[in-house]
Symmetry: C2
Subunit: 165 residues, 2 copies
């Protein structure tokens, strides 16, 4: 195995097919296409419709319902994560997985409340918090989702004037 390839790596297509078969599911082109789209759009937070449109460019015959059904499978296989930015639709992105199947602790999402831009912040600083929770409540944290709202570097400068109405 590679020593320390923390750079994003493609899900091995063979491994994906194997995962499908293990679940008693069939390997279809549509399922491959959806996974490929999500891989080629890392950190893009695609909606189901965006995935659909993206796949349709090369494979116009695909149906939106199939995209939704495939998303559910990918979720169950822990190959993708779902994120919700409160804009009315669910979004999806490839999960960061190491070759041994251990999940990278995710990045957090920085959401600018002025311009709406979403950026990322890779981080593992939540361990202290998770330890504190275990100690005080007995709750064993295995995953987390962190959304941080604020002003991005560009919008932060003009922060002084708060609108009063």
């Amino acid at each position: 195995m590679t020593m320390n390839e923390s750079k994003s790596q493609m899900v091995d297509p063979e491994r994906f097919k194997q995962m499908l078969r293990l679940k008693g599911l069939k390997v279809t082109n549509q399922r491959i296409y959806v996974l490929q789209t999500l891989e080629s759009c890392r950190n893009k937070h695609l909606t189901a419709e965006e995935i659909y449109n993206n796949v349709k460019v090369d494979h116009p015959e695909i149906g939106l319902a199939t995209v939704y059904r495939t998303i559910q499978i990918l979720k169950e296989l822990h190959l993708i994560d779902r994120i919700n930015f409160d804009d009315g639709t669910e979004r999806y992105e490839i999960a960061e997985i190491l070759e041994d199947g251990v999940k990278h602790h995710h990045h957090h999402h920085l959401i600018c409340i002025k311009c709406g831009k979403v950026s990322e912040f890779a981080d593992d600083m939540l361990e202290a918090l998770e330890s504190a929770i275990m100690l005080k409540t007995g709750f064993h944290v295995v995953d987390h989702e962190v959304k941080l709202y604020g002003y991005c570097k560009e919008c932060g400068g003009k922060l002084i004037e708060e609108t009063k109405k």
Copy 2:
């Protein structure tokens, strides 16, 4: 009507009326009822429908659409927070506000991935993370939403009880 008196945290009804008038909105009974329901169900993560049913007990004439419209107003006034536990509906809870209008840093939500129970964890340990983000990216965090997934004490105990008391 439920009498839930935790004076320091109740939104002063007069202050609420003032906030409405400041926005050019009228003070109506329905708006008061919805706020009261949310106050009497602190940390209960109510859905719009649950608020509706709760209000309907004493005021059967209220309509669901009015509840939705009132929720939007309360959100704009920062009197409530929206939370989504991926169960298909939005949930709402009273925001923790001090009398001077400064927002309490919220609690985090601990979501058990086995039994689905949602508990809370009051905490402000995210300051180190927010400072790190400011330093590295220039993003100025003013609010955050943290969901922690894992096993609650009851469910976690069953998984590892054999090895540890």
